[in-house]
């Protein structure tokens, strides 16, 4: 699946790819836009590229064209979005102005930018998880949800009336990017299935 991308990738990207291939996205989003105004800062851009030759190269051009300094590229081998695209994460150093110009240029060039810098998540979804939440490594569950580029946990609440070793419930408010609610819910239910937890999903899309 990822051969087209691999043929273009740098060797350091290859090795990073190996170490990070298990995760559904990664890299904290919190360290962006924290520098003083006008100073170059690191930014993370997440892209989704068609699995076709030349796409990665085309996507990177606007970065140097607009004065950005490419720090690293990660693409997640074997991690394909539901629309069959390959998620790529690019770390760029640029001033805020130049960073904005880079994102605009990427979008103008037809590149699907799913998240850039501190861009806000557009949608919110609330789910409940029920089961042996603590015994199945709650922090791992949360980390894996948080690592997905489509989702970020905005709020979390645990209700464990029988103590932490018995069945408990958790409410998660998950912020997702525009149009990615279904993808985020699917990811949560995959993790839950693996850990034999039950998910109470919301009714979405105008229902209820």
């Amino acid at each position: 699946m990822t051969s087209a991308l691999n043929s273009e990738s740098e060797t350091d990207a290859e090795s990073d790819d190996r170490t990070r291939s298990q995760s559904c996205g990664s890299r904290g989003d919190s360290d962006v836009d924290t520098g003083a105004d006008g100073q170059p800062q690191p930014h993370t851009i997440r892209l989704e590229l068609p699995d076709q030759p030349g796409q990665l190269l085309a996507a990177l051009e606007p970065i140097s064209d607009n004065g950005g300094n490419l720090l690293s590229i990660f693409h997640e081998r074997g991690n394909v979005t539901p629309r069959g695209r390959i998620p790529v994460e690019v770390d760029v150093e640029a001033t805020p102005d130049r960073f904005d110009a880079i994102v605009s240029a990427l979008r103008d060039g037809g590149v699907n930018v799913v998240q850039a810098g501190a861009e806000h998540y557009a949608e919110e979804v609330v789910v409940l998880l029920v089961g042996h939440l603590v015994d199945t490594d709650l922090s791992d569950t949360l980390r894996r949800i948080e690592q997905c580029p489509a989702a970020s946990i905005a709020d979390f609440s645990l209700n464990a009336p029988e103590g932490r070793t018995d069945t408990s419930s958790a409410r998660l408010r998950i912020a997702t990017r525009a149009g990615a609610t279904a993808e985020a819910l699917e990811m949560v239910s995959d993790i839950a299935e693996e850990k034999e937890l039950h998910v109470v999903e919301p009714l979405t899309g105008g229902a209820a």
Binding site: V126, V127, L128, V130, G131, S157, N159, A160, P161, T167, S168, S169, A170, R171, R173, H198, V200, E201, P202, L203, G206, A207, A208
Partner: protein, 321 residues
């Protein structure tokens, strides 16, 4: 008002009994009535003595001196099928339906089995018969859902979703309101007669799923046949009080929601806003239809009960040509 019809009512439980009780009020005549071991069959078109047959059922457990098979072969216009819903081959309901259609008689089902598990077979038999099959009572009790979908035309309905099991809804709404556990509420529901001694069918989501399967069959108009095995089903037995509490803190609650589209069926506990139309309480049912030209339609009311279900059965009888 349509012409009075001659009815054979098979099944003498809550539903069959109520149909027999109410038929005259709707202008129809019961000419045959059967339970699992006996039958009352009228000698002429004036029908059986409904009150006497119902009294006998209550006192002695039988409805008459005839054989149940005699009722199936009596001289009726419409067979009302109200025997227990069964999975798989949907018997004995399916054979009852077959017998009537092969005799070119109409069939009105309260029994979900034939249209949930053998929809294609039912439609094949209907195609070769002068009789029609109607089944309003199988989905949502008294609520006119199937006929509303028909009125809108199935091709203009993109989805149907709703609360289709009163027992499960009673349990979830009591758990949420009283902060009591599943086991306690179930026991209370059994005492009240809201839940059966064996509540498996209701609390595991099977009953709601069968109704959604029927709706999916109606929506897909024969393009694709659905059975229970196509449904993605989860019940309410894994919903603890702690989950309902968390939902309530956030202005939400949990309901056993069934969804049916041309693409499939899903039944499971879902989060809904407390003030949502779907968050009905107690044994109430609701169905929400998504339409292409008429927006969303919400139909709610009593989803079960003898007279309620009989009213849907008799409504179907009235729709027959």
């Amino acid at each position: 008002m349509s012409d009075g019809k001659r009815l054979a009512v098979v099944g003498a439980g809550a539903v069959g009994g109520s149909v027999v009780d109410l038929a005259a009020e709707y202008g129809h005549t019961v000419v045959a009535f059967a339970d699992s071991s006996s039958a009352a069959v009228a000698g002429d078109d004036s029908g059986i003595d409904a009150a006497a047959a119902l009294d006998r059922k209550a006192d002695e457990g039988t409805v008459g001196d005839a054989d149940p098979d005699d009722a199936l072969h009596a001289d009726y216009d419409v067979l009302v099928e109200a025997t227990p819903t069964t999975l798989g081959d949907a018997e004995p309901g399916f054979s009852h339906l077959q017998t009537a259609l092969e005799r070119d008689r109409h069939v009105v089902l309260a029994n979900k089995g034939p249209v949930a598990e053998r929809y294609g077979d039912v439609r094949d038999l209907e195609r070769n018969s002068a009789g029609q099959v109607r089944f309003e009572a199988t989905v949502g009790g008294a609520i006119p859902i199937v006929s509303t979908v028909e009125d809108l035309s199935p091709s203009h309905v993109t989805a149907a979703r709703g609360i289709l099991n009163g027992t499960a809804n009673f349990i979830l709404s009591r758990m949420a309101a009283e902060g009591i556990d599943y086991e306690h509420v179930l026991a209370e529901a059994q005492d009240l007669g809201v839940a059966e001694a064996d509540p498996t069918f209701d609390v595991e989501g099977t009953d709601a799923a069968l109704k959604c399967v029927i709706l999916a069959n109606v929506l897909s108009e024969g393009e694709r046949e659905f059975t229970l095995s196509d449904a993605d089903v989860e019940g309410i037995t894994n919903v603890p009080g702690s989950a309902l509490e968390l939902a309530a803190e956030d202005g939400r609650t949990i309901r056993l929601v069934g969804e049916a589209t041309r693409d499939g069926i899903r039944v499971g506990p879902r989060l809904v806003p407390q003030n949502a139309a779907l968050a009905v309480t107690g044994t109430r049912n609701i169905v929400q239809l998504e339409t292409t030209h008429a927006g969303q339609l919400n139909l709610s009311g009593r989803g079960a009960g003898g007279p309620e279900t009989a009213s849907a059965v008799l409504g179907d009888v009235g729709r027959l040509e």
